[in-house]
Amino acid sequence: MKTIKYYILITGLCVCWSILPGLSASIDKPNNILQSAIIDVNSPFIKDGVLDVNAVVKHFEDLYRSASSISEVELKITKPRNERTLEMKMWTKGEEKALIVIQSPAREKDTATLKVDNNLWNYLPRINRTIRIPPSLMMNSWMGSDFTNDDLVRESSFTKDYIYKLAGHTENPPGWQVDLIAKPDIVGLWNKFELIVSEDGTIPLQAKYYDRRDRLARTIIWSDVKDFDGHIIPSKMLLTPEDEKGQKTEMIYNDINFNVTVPDDMFSLSQLERKR
């Protein structure tokens, strides 16, 4: 009987020993961040079992970029009372130039958006007019989606405009959390955002964006990792705004060709207004 009591006591202590560190981590650190976790993953971004945060942020910044690209994208916009899907073709050159042309539905076919540096134009084929989106409207919705014009133009640079640091390892989703906090002299939308990347640091998994009042404004979840032309990237991006119930926008990359030849005149107003 005495042996059984000792057995129960020792077993109880072992259970407590195993639970307590987890409890303290979940209480002290949000999102179950385990600061001291050492991950044994073979990745160019892991040095001595710890994430190389500088390399990860730079990689994240250039994830969907290259010298040039042509992609086919589907945009699913879900609102509380309606849902619609846009099919688009996108051409990019470097960080500064992009052309997006809507392929379907018919009502919006050939509607196009041109980005050159920090300028944005929309071409409306139905009325054959091109309008420039002024900087004051950069935070407005793009094509009725939850993405803003600023998301397209992306004036801000993660590496230049944010101070970033490794917050630690997370369990849900399993990966590394990097906190990016806007520099004090930068006027931008996001006060900070918490980016979670995969264990090897190559794939973004989730990002929570906080506004100037430090309120959670939106969450992006990346999924469906695919090999596009040798680039391993998530093909699906789900954006959920916090203040709009029942609303979300899903961006799905059906095809991306990187480092293809895209002529410079592709990114001109005349090309924007070209009949297709």
Binding site: K79, N122, L124, I127, I131, P134, L137, N140, M143, G144
Partner: protein, 410 residues
């Protein structure tokens, strides 16, 4: 009060004309201030009430239950034409007008600006108190009216072509070209600041909202019984799943302002009350002290102390009545002088650039036409009579307690 006593009182108040004159002047100024303030406040609250129950939200507004909170484009009323027919069948309804509100980008040239398309039933809204009241030209097809502040901002004029881009109720892209028919100034601030007004039919087509609208604005024939009218609409089957609100429920803040304004008159009355008490009491006390010898004589000749009291009270009432009469004449003169031109309160505030004041999306005209009611005169009269009696208590009490011999020696 006997006529003889009043006759003596009348004679007594004329003994020291300067002192009596000053007391009457104080009362007259008080009565004038009361009438002028009350009539101005009434004119001002008339402006607010007319702006709310007229072009802004009418007496009653019907919307989809969540629209007021979310203002989402797709929170619409369906079967709007049938709803309006049913509403206009009610005998107390003067007009019912459907409206559409849609945020858009407006581009006269290359650059885009934020605007709001307001789709209206032009014929109904052109009536008195409608959104387009005073606008006598019919709105032509393919043309829009632009709020004067927005027009200035986007540098557009009548005859210009503008592109309108927005999101339709079904989520698709709404875009079209329109000609600016005219630039308008409206009591609703939203229209002036951001408004692009087009016919309801064209707005329904642009934003894919067939037989749909965001609100129905109802104006009753009178401003009375609005709550009962709203209740009767709630029992109509086609309006069952809608939100029906009276103007007092929609803009409670403005209702508070209206109620507060009505108390300003009472505040002025208290000031008048204090001025009158001080003026009359001072005049009568001084007069009583000066006439101790005379009072002693009257008492010695057989007058009762009560007769002296009556005499002093009569003097107080006469001074009060004369003061009220002069103040009322001044007040009526003020109303007559300003009845046609009104008073431009904006000019009191600076360089005259500001013509209206916007609050809660409502443009409150600062050009006020004072309106006097008989109640204001009666209020002042009753207040002054009451204070005259109060002011006469002390001197009457002194006179009533006089001993004839001591008074004659005084």
């Amino acid at each position: 009060m006997k006529a003889r006593t009043i006759q003596i009182a009348w004679r007594n108040i004329g003994r020291n004309k300067k002192r009596t004159g000053l007391a009457m002047l104080a009362i007259a100024v008080g009565q004038f201030a009361l009438l002028a303030t009350n009539s101005l406040m009434r004119g001002y609250t008339d402006n607010i009430r007319i702006a709310i129950t007229g072009p802004m939200i009418g007496h009653i507004r019907i919307t989809e239950p969540n629209w007021a909170e979310e203002r989402a484009l797709d929170l619409v009323l369906n079967d709007v034409n049938e709803m309006i027919d049913v509403i206009e069948d009610e005998s107390f309804v003067d007009s019912a007008a459907a409206r559409i509100y849609a945020p858009v980008l407006v581009a006269p040239k290359e650059d885009a600006f934020i605007g709001t398309v307001v789709g209206v039933q032009v014929q109904t809204e052109s009536k008195d108190y409608g959104l387009l009241s005073g606008f006598d030209k019919p709105l032509e097809k393919g043309k829009v009216l632009v709020g004067h502040i927005l027009a200035k901002k986007i540098e557009t004029n009548a005859g210009d072509e503008i592109a309108i881009v927005g999101q339709a109720a079904d989520g698709s892209l709404a875009n079209d070209l329109f000609i600016v028919q005219d630039i308008i100034k409206c009591p609703v601030d939203l229209i002036n600041q951001l408004g692009i007004v087009m016919s309801l039919g064209e707005a329904q087509e642009l934003f894919v909202m067939p037989d749909e609208a965001h609100e129905i604005v109802i104006r009753n024939k009178t401003s009375e019984q609005v709550n009962a009218a709203a209740e009767s609409f709630r029992n109509i089957p086609i309006l069952k799943n809608t939100e029906i609100q009276t103007w007092e429920e929609i803009v409670p803040q403005l209702v508070v302002i209206l109620k507060t304004s009505s108390y300003v008159g009472y505040f002025i009355l208290i000031i008048v009350f204090i001025a009158a008490v001080a003026g009359i009491a001072n005049t009568l006390v001084m007069s009583a002290f000066e006439r101790f010898h005379e009072f002693g004589m009257l008492l010695a000749l057989g007058s009762s102390p009560f007769r002296l009291v009556r005499m002093i009270v009569s003097e107080a009432v006469l001074i009060g009545l004369l003061g009220v009469a002069i103040g009322t004449l001044l007040g009526i003169g003020f109303i007559i002088v300003t009845s046609d031109s009104g008073i431009d309160m904006a000019s009191w505030g600076g360089d005259g650039q500001v013509e209206d004041m916007a609050y809660q999306g409502l443009n409150l005209p600062l050009h006020v036409f004072p309106r006097l009611e008989i109640f204001d005169i009666i209020l002042g009269l009753c207040g002054i009579m009451f204070t005259s009696l109060i002011a006469s208590i002390w001197p009457a009490w002194i006179a009533g307690r006089l001993e004839p011999m001591e008074a004659m020696r005084a």
